[in-house]
């Protein structure tokens, strides 16, 4: 009887607070109190189309919720960029020299990646979690959690499922669902890296690679490789439209 009781306790689903705690761990680990700079390589495969590869620089200032994505390669895309400021996402196209307001679902540079894939994680702020199951994902034991968007929050996907590595707490898999309940995309995070941050006085986690699979247009996939992460303070001018415009001159 006691053994059964202990087993039940061991297998009991995490409470709501525990689930929120798990999300906070995910968010906090990726958050840097200071700045962030990295180089990303984005590889896009689309059905019946040639593969595309891009190189971009990511600049983040988590304290101010600011994000800049500047495309560096190929030459045709160099100078194109995105700026997130005050919950607005703007895109700059150097070929026409104009800024345009974009939405959360904007395909960054026309790839399968979105703003959320490069920005800081805000899962605990944006979603309310419920426990689905403890299961196996390949060799990993994971907690599968379902997230529903909180009222009044604007996100691209109102429902998300996460597979969190039980041992490390890292996200290994994520599925995004549309309002209709349809699965839109599946993202895998096969490996995580970490770097000590002076400003945070702790380690900042980031995925080495992100594999995004389009579940509506089967066959379309995007691979994002994150490299050369630097957590040193950045020039505040970087997070301005003028700076991004100057990069294409």
């Amino acid at each position: 009887m006691l053994a059964l009781f202990i087993a039940t306790l061991a297998w009991a689903a995490p409470s709501s607070d525990e689930l929120v705690g798990m999300l906070k761990v995910v968010d906090d680990r990726q958050q840097n109190n200071g700045d962030w700079r990295s180089l990303v390589y984005i590889e896009q495969k689309e059905k019946d189309k040639s593969d595309l590869a891009y190189q971009a620089a990511i600049y983040r200032r988590d304290a101010d919720d600011k994000l800049v994505i500047l495309f560096l390669k190929p030459q045709a895309e160099a100078g194109k960029g995105y700026l997130r400021a005050d919950s607005n996402l703007f895109m700059f196209d150097p070929t026409v020299g104009k800024w345009e307001r974009r939405t959360e679902r904007e395909r960054i540079g026309g790839t399968g990646s979105q703003r959320q894939d490069f920005d800081q994680s805000r899962l605990a702020d944006e979603y309310a979690p419920t426990f689905v199951a403890e299961e196996k994902l390949g060799q990993y034991t994971v907690n599968r959690i379902k997230l529903a968007v909180k009222a009044g929050i604007d996100v691209a996907y109102p429902v998300v499922e996460l597979w969190l590595d039980k041992a490390t707490g890292n996200v290994l898999k994520r599925q995004d669902f549309a309002e209709s309940g349809r699965l839109m995309r599946t993202t895998y995070y096969p490996a995580w890296n970490k770097l000590y941050s002076e400003s945070k006085k702790a380690e900042v986690y980031f995925p080495k690679e992100v594999w995004i699979y389009d579940e509506v247009e089967k066959g379309n996939q995007t691979k994002v490789v994150i490299q050369e992460v630097d957590l040193k303070p950045l020039d505040p001018n970087i997070f301005t439209k003028a700076w991004l415009e100057s990069k294409s001159r």
Binding site: K47, A178, E179, V216
Partner: protein, 446 residues
């Protein structure tokens, strides 16, 4: 009268020369009429496709902004607005409500971005008749000339009408399921599986990014409830009254207490950026005409008109040089005859008129025949529905066949213009003939 008779007799006497010049002038007229017919055909297609896919003659639309940064092309409390429009529009034929959306349509062969026009069949019972359905050969490899599907089924739930170019790219046939992916006003993704109930013939550039969906499904996609629509399309008895009606409706709606956006003669989708940057919230109405909604397509008509003018001008210059040269030869050949006429009392002005009348008669005869031939050819070619195989060309011509439309004003204008040009080309030689002194002319030997 005597001069006209002499001029006619001279033309008949110099049959070979008259025939050669007439043929040249006539062919230029035929070409001009054909080019003008294509230009008119493009214009007609523009009006037809615009008032089927993009707008009524006048559009009462607007933007609804739940917050300063979010905005959608919606008219809330649409019935009230509609009642005002129906009551206060002179020369009104009908008003229809159309939903507006934008989404990605995903099929087995890939995906296309399309503007979604939401149709309520009970509101537009004649809608199905405005679309021409495409034969299966237009969108299916190995398809035959048979036409399948029924545009009236757009009244069924979760129904979609595609245009042939989209159906070809998506690799779908009537009865197939496709998925529409959209982004709601608050940025959330949504999807809907819909059945393709009909595939329509392409209508140029507009149809290359358009699809028609039943209005309730569109509302479902955007989670819209209640008395909301995308726009009210106002059709008038006379399309020429569009601008005046729009101005009058703006005044009426403002008097009824509606907030109006500043008038901008551009399609609604070009206003998102401006609206997104403004800090108002709530509903503002926006009124435009059909021409405003397709203003970005007007360049096709202008571009074709420029080509027409360019080609016609080059041919006209060649013909004018030919006419001038021929008239100079005629004057030289008939110098002694001019001398005789001057000697028996014909005044210089009458000699000028004689040669001018010859040119005018020649021009009138040749251009009338040329215009007639051009009109017959244009009508025959239009009936033959010559297909345009290149998609870019279809977009430019706003049709999947070469459109010809013969307008009486264009015919009479061509005749008048080219006859005037012929007369002007003959002016200098005629003037030279009139200047000849009788004694010199009589003693002239070739």
């Amino acid at each position: 009268m005597v001069l006209a008779s002499i001029a006619l007799r001279n033309l008949v006497q110099a049959r070979r020369r008259t025939l050669l010049l007439s043929t040249a002038i006539g062919l230029v007229t035929t070409l001009l009429v054909l080019l003008l017919s294509i230009s008119a055909g493009i214009s007609d297609n523009l009006v037809q496709s615009a008032t089927t896919l993009s707008s009524g003659h006048v559009v009462v639309a607007g933007f609804y902004k739940p917050s300063p940064t979010l905005g959608a092309p919606l008219v809330t409390d649409a019935s009230k607005v509609r009642a005002i429009v129906e009551a206060k529009t002179p020369g009104l034929e009908r008003v229809v409500a159309r939903g507006r959306g934008w989404g990605k349509i995903v099929g087995p062969g890939g995906s296309v971005q399309a503007s979604l026009s939401g149709v309520t069949l009970s509101d537009e019972p004649g809608f199905a008749d405005t679309l021409q359905l495409a034969p299966r050969s237009a969108y299916l490899e190995g398809g035959g000339p048979e036409v399948v599907g029924d545009a009236r089924r757009i009244g069924e739930p979760d129904a979609l009408i595609l245009f042939a170019s989209h159906a070809r790219r998506l690799e779908v046939d009537v009865g197939d399921l496709v998925t529409i992916v959209t982004e709601q006003t608050d940025g959330r993704s949504n999807t809907l599986d819909v059945t393709v109930v009909a595939i329509a013939r392409d209508m140029g550039m507009l149809s290359s990014w358009s699809a028609i969906i039943d209005e309730p499904s569109l509302k479902k996609l955007y989670s819209l409830k209640g008395d909301t629509t995308g726009a009210l399309w106002v059709y008038l008895d006379d399309i020429a009254e569009s601008e005046r009606t729009m101005t009058s409706l703006r005044t009426t709606l403002a008097q009824e207490g509606y907030a109006l956006m500043d008038y901008q003669p551009v399609p609604f989708w070009m206003k998102f950026e401006v609206v997104g940057g403004e800090d108002w919230t709530g509903q503002k109405l926006d009124l435009t005409t059909w021409a405003d909604e397709v203003s970005f397509l007007m360049y096709t008509v202008v571009a074709f008109d420029i080509v027409t003018v360019f080609i016609s001008s080059i041919l006209l210059i060649i013909i004018a040089i030919g006419i001038s040269n021929t008239m100079f030869n005629t004057v030289r050949e008939r110098t002694r005859e001019i001398g005789t006429m001057r000697a028996i009392g014909l005044r210089r002005r009458q000699v000028l008129w004689l040669f001018m009348l010859e040119a005018i008669f020649l021009g009138l005869f040749a251009t009338t025949c040329g215009a007639g031939l051009g009109a017959v050819l244009a009508l025959a070619l239009d009936a033959a529905a010559i297909p345009v195989p290149i998609e870019a060309m279809q977009a430019f011509l706003l049709s999947d066949t070469i459109p010809f439309s013969v307008r009486p004003l264009a015919l009479s204008g061509s005749v008048a213009f080219l006859t005037t040009c012929t007369a002007l080309a003959a002016l200098w030689p005629s003037y030279r003939a009139a200047l000849l002194r009788p004694i010199v002319a009589l003693g002239y030997t070739a």
